[in-house]
Amino acid sequence: MSRIELKHIDKFYGDNHVLRDINLVIEDGDFMTLLGPSGCGKTTTLRVVSGLEKPQNGVMTIDGEEMINADLAFYAEPSKRGLNLVFQSYALWPHMTVRENIAFGLKIQKLPKDEIEKRLKDSLRMMRIEEYIDRYPNELSGGQQQRVAIARAVASNPKLLLLDEPLSNLDARLRIDMRSELQRIHRELGTTIIYVTHDQVEALTMSTKIALFKAGELSQVDAPMDLYMNPIDLEAADFIGNPRINFLEGTGRYENGKLMVKCELKDYTFDKADMTDEKIPNGEFPVVVAIRPEQVHITPDAEPGALPVKVYANQPAGSETLVSLQAGKSDFLSKQIGLAQYSIDQTVYVHIDPNKINIYDAKSTRLIKRAK
């Protein structure tokens, strides 16, 4: 049960500024995912929270208690922070059996024997690996090692559980299994979790909140669906979502409380109510119209309000079909559930709900019109 607050955290490696003024609040019981491409500082943030790295600036509190105060050069030891960490490499001690691995930290805490035994059994049962208790790590498969690593972290009853890309070494199927496993653990233990990943699917499916990192800075902190619906800038929009979001160039003009946008698909007018607080340039300015592929609905026949476009390519993949379309010089993608057959160069008609469209200022790259 804990609330973590990071204030103005800066971390340098030599002259390399890897964390730039990180401010983040993680509420009690959150499943907070730190998401971003590799080298953006998410693992460093996790290590700062754990106490394995010491930031040069900033303050961190856990439940109001100061754990880091860089001004006073105060850094609480990792073991005094009431947390535990699952490493990307699992970091299971190869010379200890599963039992010894899990009991190690409990023995160091000098817990009574029966308590150690109880926690050992509980965490093994929870991860469903009771039968491997006397095996050595190298006698286990990757997925089993992963479970031992989580069991070891959970056994210490941490208030805060840190997970550093724990699924990246597993194959695709195991990854999906472990995703539901982790969600279940979060529910059962009620522990606050900080989870680092570069995989947006993991982030979107498991977390209660996502912190999106960009080059050492936090660019957006939101609930998963909010992040998906309204990425704060073009880079975030491009990063989140698979297949990628469609970007179409256009021009905008803001007049009398209305935003008018022209692009090769159609002309749109948006209400002030849908707009963000970003500053809008005067006069005509370049914008980027962003449309999720699943928001592009295709009909074979002309219907009122539908736009004629040309099919460039067609990729049926069983459960879904990706269709590349062309409108004038702009290419864009449509995603349809199920199988659909279109022939190349065929003319089809598309429907796009204007409410689901994001508009970005092309110059500042920031979101100016939200989707609903």
Binding site: F12, A91, W93, I108
Partner: protein, 606 residues
């Protein structure tokens, strides 16, 4: 918002916390202590030696005319421009370079071909051959020199060798001097090239060669344009090691050169250090150090960038073998001939000589005796001062000293090596990590004789107002010298060992509440155990073989088997010298076999 690392105003709590952060972490303390110790054991002696070449010593005070302890350029002038400098410096320097270069020319191709045959060809009996091929390296180089003498000795040194005994006239140029030295050293230092090239070949992905084959290249073309360029960096570093090692080698050059007045830098230097003016000897050892540093750093310059691809292709596990076809028989013959000349023949002659009454007199029953092993002085058929080695008290004490030195020395060295390795791996990229790595590397630049002369200069008198007592002539000094000289190798094996222990394993323990000592005891040490044992065994062998390093410091009380054999050989008791070398050989071979049991790889030894 861009922010910088700011300097903060002074704050008491902050200062207190900063100090606590450093002091409360035992790792910091260990790093600090190691750096201080390394500084005292490596930097100070070196500076001390440099200083002594510029300071008037007691023995020369009269000649120079300045008071003892004042600054002088006398020694350097004596060495560089004096009347005798041709004989003291330039002649020996030329000899050293000639010997070094020719050793490279012979040993590097030899070792490389052997390495290629063992790794990449389908030569039969590879497993057995692979073991036999490294055995000549196990034989100490000075033993090889004695074996050479046993075969080629002629009238010049009194008693005849095997060939002269058969009535074959052996000219001096073959028995002694540069040819003998080069061949003896080549049969030793081929191992560097063998080890380097074979491990490089093992790491190269054979797909690279297969691609060449698909492109239509024949075997010779593949070897020439794909394999050779890929292993070139390792061949070059073998060249550098061979060159710097052979220039500084003492034992071989002394046994084979001194008696016809053929001096190298190393042998000439020792005559100065044992006699006078000592400081000239120190100046010569600085020249040797400079030479080694020059060779090594120029190598890093030349192949520094390209070195990176020496380890290309992690998938080396699946390597195909090249079919030798018709070349199989001649190459097999080459291997057999090599093993015969490098191992069988000299060992046979060496062992047989220990049973001879007169060397070079054949193996007839009237010339065979066990005297050299178990005889007493009054049983001797020829004039001698010494009883057979097993009845000889000196030999007993030499065995004791050897075992004592190797055990104590290698335990300390291996322990320090693990610690230093720990510091340099955990401090990788930090200043103390690279400082440790560089300090530890310094002894590698020095030949054994140069290094020990430095230590003699440093510890022959009490230092720091008696805090460090005079260690001159003590066993402690010999142990200390052996330990520090083997630091580079030991810490390299320690580093390799510690690299295998991922930092996360320690961090995981840290998060689970283990303090530094608990982490060391429960995580690092148990995981480092095997690496430690193999590192220990390799150091053990290397100290047991050592002659060059400790020869300056030895006397009757502290002498080891190597030194005793060397003395006997110099005094002309060849059979006994041989008998002792046979004992040393057996000792090393037994250790090697035990080390192999623990998975020690001789490829990691220098």
């Amino acid at each position: 918002m861009k922010r910088k690392r700011e300097r903060r105003p002074f704050n008491k709590t902050r200062l207190k916390n900063q100090i606590l952060n450093v002091v409360k972490n035992p790792f910091n303390m260990i790093v600090a202590i190691s750096l201080v110790v390394l500084f005292c054991l490596i930097v100070i002696p070196l500076l001390q030696m440099v200083a002594s070449t510029f300071t008037v010593a007691k023995s020369e005070a009269k000649r120079i005319g300045d008071p003892v302890g004042s600054f002088t350029l006398y020694y350097w002038r004596y060495l560089l421009v004096g009347k005798l400098s041709g004989a003291t410096l330039w002649g020996p320097l030329k000899n050293s370079l000639v010997v070094g270069v020719f050793t490279v020319i012979v040993s590097v191709p030899l070792g490389s071909v052997l390495g290629w045959l063992m790794v990449r060809s389908d030569i039969p009996g590879k497993k057995l051959m692979g073991m036999l091929v490294v055995i000549p390296y196990m034989i100490p180089s000075w033993c090889k020199a004695l074996a050479w003498l046993a075969v080629f000795r002629n009238k010049t040194s009194g008693s005849l060798g095997f060939l002269a005994g058969l009535g074959i006239p052996i000219p001096d140029w073959l028995a002694y001097g540069p040819v003998a030295i080069v061949l003896c050293m080549s049969l030793h230092y081929y191992a560097f090239s063998y080890i380097h090239v074979s491990s490089a070949l093992r790491s190269i992905n054979s797909e690279l060669e297969e691609m060449g084959e698909i492109c239509g290249a024949n075997k010779v073309q593949i070897l020439k344009s794909i394999t050779l360029p890929l292993v070139l960096p390792s061949i070059l570093s073998a060249v550098v090691m061979t060159l710097s090692k052979s220039i500084g080698t003492y034992g071989v050059a002394a046994n084979l050169g001194s008696r016809i007045g053929y001096f190298t830098l190393a042998t000439k230097m020792k005559t100065f250090i044992n006699g006078s003016p000592q400081a000239v000897g120190y100046a010569m050892s600085l020249v040797l150090i400079g030479l080694a540093a020059l060779i090594i750093f120029s190598n890093q310059r030349i192949i520094g960038v390209r070195k990176s691809y020496a380890t290309i292709g992690g998938k080396g596990g699946r390597s195909n073998e090249m079919h030798l076809g018709g070349a199989k028989v001649p190459l097999m013959m080459f291997l057999v001939v090599f093993l015969f000349f490098a191992m069988v023949a000299p060992m046979f002659v060496l062992v047989m000589e220990t049973f001879q009454v007169t060397t070079g007199n054949g193996y007839g029953p009237d010339n065979l005796t066990l005297y050299n092993w178990i005889g007493t002085v009054d049983e001797a058929r020829t004039y001698t001062n010494y009883a057979g080695i097993f009845k000889n008290k000196e030999f007993g004490s030499a065995v004791y000293n050897t075992i004592r030195l190797t055990f104590i020395g290698s335990i300390i060295t291996a322990l320090c090596g693990q610690f230093l390795g720990y510091i340099s791996t955990r401090g990788r990229g930090k200043w103390y990590g690279s400082a440790t790595e560089q300090l530890v590397f310094v002894p590698y630049l020095m030949s054994g004789v140069a290094f020990s002369s430095m230590y003699v200069a440093m510890f022959s008198q009490a230092r720091l107002g008696g805090l460090i007592p005079s260690l001159y002539g003590t066993f402690t000094l010999i142990v200390l010298t052996s330990v520090v000289k083997h630091f580079p190798f030991a810490s390299r094996s320690g580093t390799a060992n510690m690299m295998q222990i991922a930092v996360e394993l320690e961090e995981a323990a840290d998060i689970n509440g283990a303090n530094f000592w608990q982490r060391m005891g429960k995580i690092v040490l148990p995981l480092a155990k095997n690496g430690f044992i193999s590192g220990f065994m390799l150091t053990f062998i290397s100290i047991a073989k050592e002659l060059d390093l400790i020869i300056i410091m030895m006397d009757k009380h502290t002498q080891t088997m190597s030194y005793l054999a060397f003395t006997y050989s110099q005094e002309g008791y060849n059979q006994m010298a041989d008998a002792i070398s046979v004992c040393v050989l057996l000792f090393i071979l037994v250790c090697y076999i035990i080390a192999n049991r623990f998975g020690a790889d001789i490829g990691k030894a220098w």
